[in-house]
């Protein structure tokens, strides 16, 4: 028996496989396809203080080896989550994390404080990196000062595991990672989507209603791997790696680059069973390489 269990500080995962926010609904959407208890954790749809309708259609464009989205954090607000959704999903035998987003610091703080009261939610993922909302979102994650200020404010009210999701749309992601670590983040997840756009040459129009959107899928994987490796060499808190993971081999690459856990995002749309397959694939890899404990692979990249 190999050990797949990992720890993000005090948060224990039965394996490193989590799902990326915005690609997995509230988990319920996948109950027909997989057994959620086989996953290390699920990160549910981005939740804000108030109801958001999101951006107008069209919100998605297929691109080479990836896709652009501009959903814009459509959700019914944190009160609806606590009253309607949480009671339906709290029994899941896996870690349920809520992705918390906002336009102003007060929204983040109030939302995090409400989630803090939910017994079966052991952690939040603070989204300071959404490229698809006009104000807030990514604006918080692209400067050290604003990233630090929102993490500091949330840290005061949120007592459980605080994961902070970082934006790749910055000059030096290690500076942001260090800034949120200094304010008490327990872990960082990276990367959120890369800002991109797509144009229809025939109609001379953008493919997204918002013109720009967030790029995900295998197209972003090399960028994500590079950033995970850079952050791994810059901070002491655990890293959750994501960006274009389609299979167990991709997941292993992120772990070797320094990720303690990984998230699977866009791949869920193409194969709703991919998460379970990655868990099995990690075990196969370990047996094949005679590795007893997955923790021995974290950051085990051999340079020279």
């Amino acid at each position: 028996m190999v050990n797949l269990g990992v720890k993000l500080k005090d948060l224990s995962l039965k394996n490193p496989v989590m799902t990326a926010s915005g690609t997995f609904g509230f988990g319920e959407e996948f109950e027909d396809f997989i057994d959620l208890s086989n996953l290390g954790g699920i990160i549910v749809k981005g939740t804000t203080r108030h109801h958001r309708e999101g951006n107008p259609y069209p919100r998605m464009a297929e691109t080479p080896s990836g896709m652009l989205n501009a959903v814009g954090l459509q959700n019914k607000g944190v009160e609806n989550f606590c009253k309607e959704i949480y009671p339906r999903i709290k029994h899941y035998d896996t870690n349920i994390l809520v992705n918390v987003s906002g336009s102003v610091i007060e929204d983040y703080v109030e939302t995090a404080a409400m989630i803090n009261e939910l017994e079966h939610i052991p952690a939040i993922e603070l989204n300071i990196s959404c490229p698809n909302v006009k104000e807030g979102g990514m604006a918080f994650g692209t400067s050290c000062a604003s990233a630090a200020s929102v993490v500091k404010a949330v840290r005061e009210v949120y007592k459980k595991h605080l994961m902070v999701k970082l934006s790749p749309n910055v000059t030096d992601i290690t500076e942001i990672a260090k800034a949120v670590e200094a304010e008490g983040a327990d872990s960082v997840s990276l990367i959120n989507t890369l800002l991109g756009m797509a144009i229809n040459a025939e109609t001379r129009k953008p493919l997204l209603s918002t013109v720009t959107g967030g790029l995900s899928g295998p197209a972003v994987k090399p960028v994500a791997l590079r950033m995970v490796w850079q952050v791994f060499n810059a901070v002491n808190i655990p890293i959750v790696g994501l960006g274009g993971i389609m299979n167990a081999k991709d997941a292993i690459e992120f772990i070797l680059a320094g990720a303690t856990a990984i998230q699977i995002g866009t791949a869920n749309f193409i194969d709703p069973q991919v998460t379970e397959k990655v868990v099995v694939g990690l075990e196969d890899y370990m047996k094949r390489h005679n590795v007893q404990d997955i923790n021995d692979l974290i950051g085990a990249l051999q340079i020279q």
């Binding site: 309708e53 107008p56 259609y57 998605m60 297929e62 080479p64 959903v71 459509q74």
Partner: protein, 254 residues
Amino acid sequence: MKKLVQDFEVLQRKELNDEHFVLDVKALEPLPEIHPGQFVNVLVKDSNTTFLRRPLSIHFVDYERNTISLYIKKIGDGTKKLGELKEGDTLNIVYPLGNQYSIPNNANTLLVGGGCGVAPLLYLAKHLKEAGNNVTTLLGVRSEKDAVELDAYKEYGNILVTTEDGSFGEKGYPTQHSVLEKEKFDYVFTCGPEPMMKAVAAYSAQKNIPCEVSLENTMACGFGACLCCVTETTEGNKCTCTEGPVFNINDLKW
């Protein structure tokens, strides 16, 4: 209804004309109940420019043969690759997805299809006839060569055609067909290009006839996770894949 992800075996590919074909795929396990208006999301192999699955309307279901028929138009590389599938090939399918058309009883029903939007209407016509309805299917196509599968529709009722070039049936668009003024319908169902569906919706609204449309918004997952395929409704944005693809026109902001 439980959603499944399964490999199907390609039984045959019928070329209807230079653009359209029908793919008959056989399930390896007994098919679940599938309703008219529902769709599948298929995985395309060996296409560098096709990353996501391709959502396709269910054209017909044959429970005796355990097959689903898909009516496909070759548009991009993904649908062209589907058009190269041969007997015995495998096709991975997520299904059955979406809601369904309403099935009234003993009513005079009109089905209006245009382009590859005709896809769900054949299976709908079958269900409508079985529920004792009178079925008239009106297809709008460019030219005579695009007026395909007419005999299949005839099994379930009347079939009428408009062609843009006047080479077959009445000349013009389906909403210009004389039957719309001659006959009184109780229900209208439509699928096709949005301008055509909006014209059908306007006709139905003017005559005060209930009308359901099937939307073809682009989507990533097909089962309510990505929130990309939304349409604006009177109750806010709704996913076309889970709360549609069939909507009553009164619920849309058209």
